[in-house]
Symmetry: C2
Subunit: 614 residues, 2 copies
């Protein structure tokens, strides 16, 4: 039978490639090979020359360790000679151990489990909202069905009635270190998908007739429910000494075993190909590169919460860039993302209280050229730290906005305070980090955030703050502002966010004592304004620099400053939050944390030679 | 009716306390007040004078924003005068905006949603394994049921047959920013709990008869399934102008509204009390403070993977400390946690691929004096960053072990590389961070990790490394080792983990050129060995220090070193991973990342005055 031969050719190359690499997960590929042969040979609509054609079907490999399966299937669909698969896992290969953007047919980097259904849901939501015909298939392993994110995605897909989303659950019983939670009791998974609002089909994943019926049903499936194909399969299927054997999870065959396996596969014909269907039409996503100018102006003597200005700004910018999408996890009235919802409900995505799914949905939207803004409390972005990490590996163009940062939120207490968010985003290479302190800089930096290609994180504040700038002031990636500056400055205080106002208060107080200090508003934390920092060190009477921020001491702005000045002769003092905070008034908590104006004044007194006090 | 009066007294104080505070979430308290009156007045077994009595029932408030409800219930149970509730959210109060350890009756800090069922599952697992009679009740909001972690916990509870766990789902329809996913369609939640293996009861949460029947059933419930009480409730119940009204989520009444509300409650009698049942017996958890000495010795010319030595060490130490528990998320054969499983299956907890639940289960175990070790890939600890953050707020005594750190893992590629783990743990105050580079230091530091009270994170390596130390060598929190040292040293290289071997290779190469450099093994990253660092700067010919690590540049060991030397006149150079890595051989990836011996040699050449090369 032709399908069997094609499935065996898939198996052959998964085995050969992993043996050539000397590592990998061949048995996880083999359990799904039959289903993939049917899907890609008979149902999958895809223009191999145009992976981003919005009329393509989409395939997400959630079980990323089965990467050779993905690579082989696209090779057999004509994307490249199968021989190239022998470069698997080599340093110059596009075929990495787990899918990454080097493989242009991968919809997302996977390999941290349980994220693919969310990515697929993001793609499916976009198809649905833009009335595109494509189906979105996601292959999941049974082990990863224990990840809560899968069920966040399931809820999301059912809520948004994504009937164009097809989950394929490969129930092969064996996970990495033993049997999964439910082994071959596939009904347990079916019950779960059904309870979460999916239509379900149960099949034997190695019976081509059953597999065909399932994909036929998926192909024509419509209605208000997503579909789950729950497939009973055998890990290592097709090779007698691999089938359903423990201890073979992350292991390649040696040469001798490979020869034996090849014989069992009956030496499949290398010229067999998978026949993709052509999509109905062709259209690539258009990237809108716009000069974003928010037409916002602010009243001089009024105070504004930067989180609120962010809301106003995106509601304005949504007119100028129709690729803008905004995602919320039920805090839209706190982050002020709701301002966008009111104007552009069709580009607003309510994810409810499920931050992990929200981030991976955003990765799906980004894949097709959208600019997703993910907004929640800074503290709750940590809930999706792994999804953020993987979205970064995916090179997704996501904008993150974390509100309620720092102890300045006050009475709600430590669980709601974003105090490790700069460490989280700062570790990820080339992530731009903004923290505007007033309304004007927030409006302008929101525009820069959207215009910048790549990861951006912006911190916003709960309390209202006075204006620091006039409407016409300009800002840039890598910039900063000197708010107090004279030729007589003794040292520099580098502050960000709420701490800017404490630094200014301190500077005013010190001025009365006759001590002049320079104050920098470090609104861009990464990349940091190294030139201005060095200039400050050189121009002040003492080569002393104090950093002040409402973030834990390690991994915050202070460490970016220190890194930028590592080769300078300078004395640095980092003022930041050193202990878990508590409930209380903002002023009390800033004082307890030792980052208020009084603490800064005391620090300056400690650092500059007493001589200058006269 | 007495119960109604008690429930209304609960309502009174939730309203009074939040009005006094000027903020809070009173309506979220009111929806569950009737159920709490029944539970605490009729079924809950608890010694108010001994919260840690292992025979107590346990109550976890997963919907942490209903904190005033928790505080009022324990006040009405006699823990303190109700008047003290008026200190709610004040800086010197034990009643924080969300529960924290300052409130000694809280089983865990909550307020980041969706974590309580896992904590309750941890407590229930312990009861079960130690044959204790207590019931473990968890009150969940409907909004948080969208969090995937809840379903990880549900799977876990069903798998481990925790019939002593009772989930109480408060389905009040309204979340923070609007209606929940399913509104009052409580059956949707019931279906989900049922599909995930729970026995379920659906009730009207304001009908005292139905509530009593449900808790009566819960009290006597036995078998192999956990129980979920799914309760249809009304947010703001009891106060006409709050009932089922949008826009009242995080809002306290003003004085006038409070007076109106008090009238509606019929001025409840302040002397009413909730009658806790007495637990059968009394026993507090015993803390074993042992001198942990692993009796491991290593062969001089053999190589060892530090992850494997960690496994051996805990398998040994499990004999010496019976409080030790080990938790796994299906990577026990990679982290080598399986070594513990083989000896102590009764203290091994398989969590399958659900890292979030694993961490919060560990917080539950820690609450009752156990010492949980959570072991997975360093990369996958980011999956539980929020749970780790909240466990830290809970002051839990958890030991985290992250294996497969850095690009040194090789072919599996970026999704599996722990490269932001030091940033994650380093940001959390007072978290000890170890990275042993060889077998001896791993065995010794594993002992220190267990003996240390508080958060510890230990990084382990995938590849095998040669021995650096002899069996008798000693290590300590805050220590380091100088591996190369002379009076002629030009500068110091501070390395950690796999980079230590690159630094040694570089030093040997440089020595051949006539350039002597000092090499420090920074096995304890936090707290860092500041004294030795300063000594190195002072003793080397040039005040130059290079840090080398297999971690992203921001938030790693380099930033700890820089912070420790911020006030020293020293030139610092941070060598770390600057880009997303890829698949390849370890040596190739270390080279690409610019952290191998050659890169270090080049860096030294760049930094020291050419004069010394002669």
């Amino acid at each position: 039978m032709n399908l069997q031969a094609k499935a065996n050719l898939i198996r052959k190359w998964c085995l050969k490639a992993t043996t050539a690499a000397g590592s990998g997960h061949p048995t996880s590929c083999l359990s799904a090979a039959d289903m993939m042969a049917v899907l890609f040979d008979q149902y999958f609509r895809y223009d191999i020359n145009n992976p981003l054609n919005v009329y393509n079907d989409r395939f997400v490999l959630s079980k990323g360790h089965a990467a050779p399966l993905l690579y082989t299937v696209f090779g057999m669909a004509g994307a490249y000679p199968l021989d190239e698969l022998l470069t698997l896992r080599k340093v110059d290969s596009r075929f990495e151990g787990h899918p990454t953007p080097k493989f242009i047919y991968a919809e997302a980097a996977t390999g941290s489990l349980g994220q693919g259904l969310s990515v697929g849901a993001g793609l499916a939501l976009l198809s649905k909202r833009e009335s595109l015909p494509g189906k979105n298939y996601v292959l999941l392993g049974d082990g990863e069905l224990a990840e809560g994110q899968v069920w966040e995605a399931a809820n999301f897909a059912a809520y948004h009635q994504l009937d164009n989303l097809v989950a394929i659950a490969d129930i092969n019983r064996l996970a990495q270190s033993g049997e999964t939670m439910f082994g071959w009791d596939a009904e347990k998974y079916e019950q779960r998908f059904k309870a979460f609002g999916f239509e379900t089909i149960m099949i034997n994943g190695h019976d081509f007739k059953e597999v065909q019926i399932a994909f036929e049903q998926a192909f024509y499936h419509q209605g208000d429910k997503p579909l789950a194909i729950v497939a009973h399969t055998i890990k290592g299927k097709g090779i007698s000494f691999l089938e359903d054997r423990d201890g073979w999870h992350g292991k390649a065959l040696n040469e001798e075993e490979l020869q034996k396996a090849m014989k069992e596969l009956g030496e499949p014909d290398d010229t067999l190909r998978l026949n993709l269907r052509a999509p109905d039409l062709t259209r690539s996503p258009m990237h809108q590169v716009l000069e974003l100018k928010p037409e916002l102006s602010f009243e001089k003597d009024k105070k504004y919460a930067t989180r609120e200005v962010f809301g106003q700004a995106i509601a304005e910018m949504g007119h100028q860039n129709t690729d803008l999408y905004v995602l919320d996890a039920d805090v839209k009235n706190s982050t002020f993302a709701e301002a966008f919802l009111h104007v552009f409900p069709e580009r607003f995505v309510e994810c409810f209280i499920a931050e992990q799914n929200m981030v991976s949905v955003a990765a799906g939207l980004s894949r097709l050229g959208k600019i997703p803004i993910v907004a929640t409390f800074g503290a709750f972005l940590t809930r999706a730290a792994d999804q953020i990490r993987m979205a970064r590996v995916s090179e997704a163009n996501i904008k993150f906005v974390g509100s309620h940062v720092g102890v300045s939120i006050g009475e709600d207490g430590p669980s709601q305070m974003g105090l490790e968010d700069i460490a989280l985003f700062g570790a990820l290479p080339h992530t731009v980090i903004f923290q505007p302190a007033d309304a004007v800089s927030t409006a302008k930096l929101t525009a820069h955030m959207i215009a910048h290609q790549g990861f951006v994180y912006m911190r916003t504040l709960r309390p209202k703050t006075p204006l620091l700038y006039q409407d016409k002031e300009t800002f840039k990636v890598g910039g900063s502002k000197l708010l107090r500056q004279s030729k007589e400055d003794q040292l520099t205080i580098v502050a960000t966010g709420i701490a800017v106002f404490e630094a200014l208060k301190a500077a005013d107080h010190l001025k009365e004592e006759g001590i002049l200090v320079r104050v920098m508003d470090c609104y861009c934390i990464n990349p940091i304004d190294q030139d201005t920092l060095i200039k400050c060190v050189q121009e002040t009477k003492n080569a002393i620099l104090i950093t002040v921020e409402d973030h834990f001491a390690h991994g915050g702005m202070g460490d970016f400053v220190t890194a930028a000045l590592a080769e300078q002769p300078v004395q640095l003092k980092k003022m930041a939050v050193q202990e878990i905070s508590r409930s209380g008034k903002m002023e009390e908590l800033l004082e307890l944390a030792g980052i208020n104006a009084t603490a800064i004044v005391n620090q300056v007194h400690d650092l500059i030679p007493t001589a200058v006090f006269h």
